[in-house]
């Protein structure tokens, strides 16, 4: 268990990497947005992992339970917030992609750039 105590953080690092790679390297705009979602989800994992307490339970206080341990509520609140930021960004991005597709007829970055140069 000691060895795997950082497993969540390793997964966070890899997910972040995968998402970042898609955002930077993929020319397809929708793929970029999917990568961005993965990228953001990785950060959610970072926060939620640090909130966990061994033997704890969700921070909803049960009456009279005595010495119950609860996980840290603050990162949960922050991530609730961040999830909403994520979908807002994605929704706006999708709307822009739809308009780009209408104007340019493609959603591949290099083809769009080629057209932009001609304008």
């Amino acid at each position: 268990m000691e060895v795997l105590g950082h497993y969540n953080y390793w997964v966070f690092a890899f997910l972040l990497t995968i998402g970042l790679y898609a955002v930077i390297a993929k020319p397809n705009l929708v793929k970029k947005l999917l990568g961005l979602s993965i990228f953001q989800a990785a950060v959610f994992l970072l926060y939620i992992s640090m909130a966990k307490v061994e033997g704890g339970t969700a921070p909803i206080i049960q009456g009279g339970a005595g010495e119950q341990v609860y996980s840290n509520p603050l990162p949960h609140v922050l991530i609730l917030t961040a999830i909403v930021v994520g979908i807002s960004t994605v929704a706006l991005g999708l709307a822009i992609v739809v308009r780009i597709r209408e104007e340019y007829g493609t959603i591949e970055e290099d083809e769009i750039q080629a057209q932009d140069r001609d304008r």
């Binding site: 970042l20 961005l36 640090m50 961040a82 930021v85 960004t89 104007e103 340019y104 750039q113």
Partner: protein, 499 residues
């Protein structure tokens, strides 16, 4: 609570609560009201900002507990001289751009879009104000998202399809930057258990040299540099500035990147610098070379650029370099130069973009070739453009001179490197003369393209605001007064960790 005590909250609340009202113009079929709401709210914000700037305690700033919860548990607002200065820049740019730009915006933003557009404008103002008054690291992230999303909408609000690709790139890079910032804040929170700046400052000392904190410094710096358009992370900036509606360019060029720079300076100086050993290296080994490169490379690109707005956008990248350069000297004079340049650059570049917006009303396109003889067709507009440009170059007697003067003075304290930096500043000023000259040359020394063009200046309201800004460039060059005082106080506050 008296009204004066409520001012920090009002600076955020006024634009944010009027924003939904501007959008409500759509629901009630009163689309033309939206501009009025936005302009009124911006002027109110400007009044609040000036009141705050006049009343702020230069040493400790003003603290405000949102929800009356004590500091590390609730969210604290903290207005310092630095934030007051930025509040003035934000609300001032917004108010002037809206007052001047109605004609230009009417031409570029369709009636159907206007309620959304002006709501987004106010959300951008409110979001940026929220960032600069906040004393909580996560709260800054939230308002960064409000202002970024609103800015994307503003940029995409016009008719130019190229704005769509520009804004998509900005959206991707902006979100990456914000998420990097969030990772950094998460790592700091993980090691200190707090999100409040003051608390963080106190607690980070114990864990200062653990690896998550070092990684956090990297992520926060890179993330904010990305959002601030610091070279070489500026690739989203030129197109986003160039293809957005012209008045929007005026507004965002004056304040949006500066807000991210503000957060960067605040984090670096207050949270990291006092506690991390070897943090100097980040400035001398990393940010200063980047700043020098930014100044030289971006000015060079600007000289070769054929489109006025892209030219000015690259000039902005160079000017961001000046700010970073001043900060990276790590002296009170250097910081004063950097901070006063926030204000002076906003005046000069805002004025120039506003003049460009006027020209765009009449000219066929904004390529330099199409601007031939515009100085004779729009004499008043072009003259104001030239005044603002002189300030950008840093001619004595203009606002731009003040910041360059402080920068040179600060650099001369540095010995041999300082001489080299002064040389860079002088060289880049010459380069600024070169790219400004290209505009002047096209405007005054080439014959107008068509014979049938009549002399038609911009509409009177635009011209009035434009000239007010141009004269402000001279006024603040002769009597730097309030901005300089605020900058000095802000620099002293930031330096307190170092001395």
């Amino acid at each position: 609570m008296t009204l004066a005590q409520q001012l920090p909250a009002l600076a955020v609340a006024v634009p944010l609560i009027t924003a939904p009202l501007a959008a409500a113009a759509m629901v009630f079929h009163r689309r033309h009201v939206a501009w009025l709401v936005a302009a009124t709210a911006s002027i109110a914000s400007l009044a609040i900002a000036i009141a705050l700037a006049a009343g702020v305690d230069p040493v400790h700033g003003v603290s405000y507990e949102v929800g009356s919860w004590p500091a590390p548990y609730g969210i604290e607002l903290r207005v310092t001289s630095f934030s007051a200065l930025l509040l003035m820049i934000i609300s001032g740019a917004s108010a002037l751009a809206l007052l001047a730009g109605k004609a230009s915006l009417d031409a570029e933003v369709t009636m159907q879009r206007r309620p959304y557009f002006y709501a987004a404008w106010l959300l951008a103002v409110g979001g940026m104000s929220g960032i600069v008054v906040s004393g909580d690291a996560f709260n800054i992230f939230v308002f960064m998202e409000v202002s970024s999303l609103a800015t994307y909408i503003l940029i995409a609000g016009g008719r130019d399809p190229r704005a769509l690709t520009a804004v998509f790139k900005y959206l991707i890079m902006g979100t990456l930057g914000a998420t990097f910032y969030l990772i950094g804040v998460g790592l700091i929170y993980m090691m200190t258990g707090t999100l409040n700046f003051a608390d963080m400052e106190a607690r980070i000392v114990d864990v200062a040299n653990l690896k998550p904190i070092l990684a956090a410094v990297g992520f926060i710096t890179i993330g904010l540099a990305l959002k601030a358009g610091v070279f070489p992370l500026h690739v989203w900036l030129p197109n986003a500035y160039a293809w957005s509606p012209h008045v929007v360019t005026t507004f965002i060029a004056a304040c949006s990147t500066k807000v991210s720079l503000y957060v960067l300076l605040r984090f670096d100086f207050l949270v990291f610098h006092g506690s991390l050993a070897g943090h100097d290296l980040q400035f001398s080994g990393f940010l200063m070379p980047l700043a020098v490169l930014a100044i030289l490379v971006a000015s060079g690109v600007a000289i070769a650029e054929g489109h006025v707005k892209r030219l000015l956008a690259y000039s902005s990248v160079a000017q961001i370099g000046y700010i970073v350069l001043g900060a990276s000297l790590l002296t009170a004079n250097g910081l004063t130069a950097a901070i006063v340049h926030f204000f002076n650059h906003a005046l000069a570049k805002g004025g120039m973009f506003l003049a460009v917006a006027c020209i765009a009303l009449r000219a066929r396109s904004l390529r330099l070739d199409d601007l031939a003889g515009i100085g004779r067709l729009m004499p008043w507009t072009t003259a104001a453009l030239v005044v603002a440009a002189l300030s950008l170059i840093g001619i004595p007697g203009t606002a731009g001179f003040i910041s360059k003067w402080y920068l040179v003075v600060a650099a001369l304290d540095e010995g041999a490197t300082g001489i080299a930096l002064v040389a860079v500043v002088l060289l880049s000023s010459l380069m600024a003369v070169a790219y400004v000259w290209r505009i002047v040359e096209a405007a005054y020394f080439r014959p107008p393209a068509g014979p049938d063009l009549a002399v038609r200046d911009a509409p009177a309201p635009m011209l009035a605001v434009l000239w007010a800004v141009a004269l402000a460039n001279i006024w603040f060059g002769l009597r730097p007064g309030l901005p300089l005082e605020l900058s000095r106080a802000a620099a002293a506050a930031l330096m307190r960790q170092i001395q």
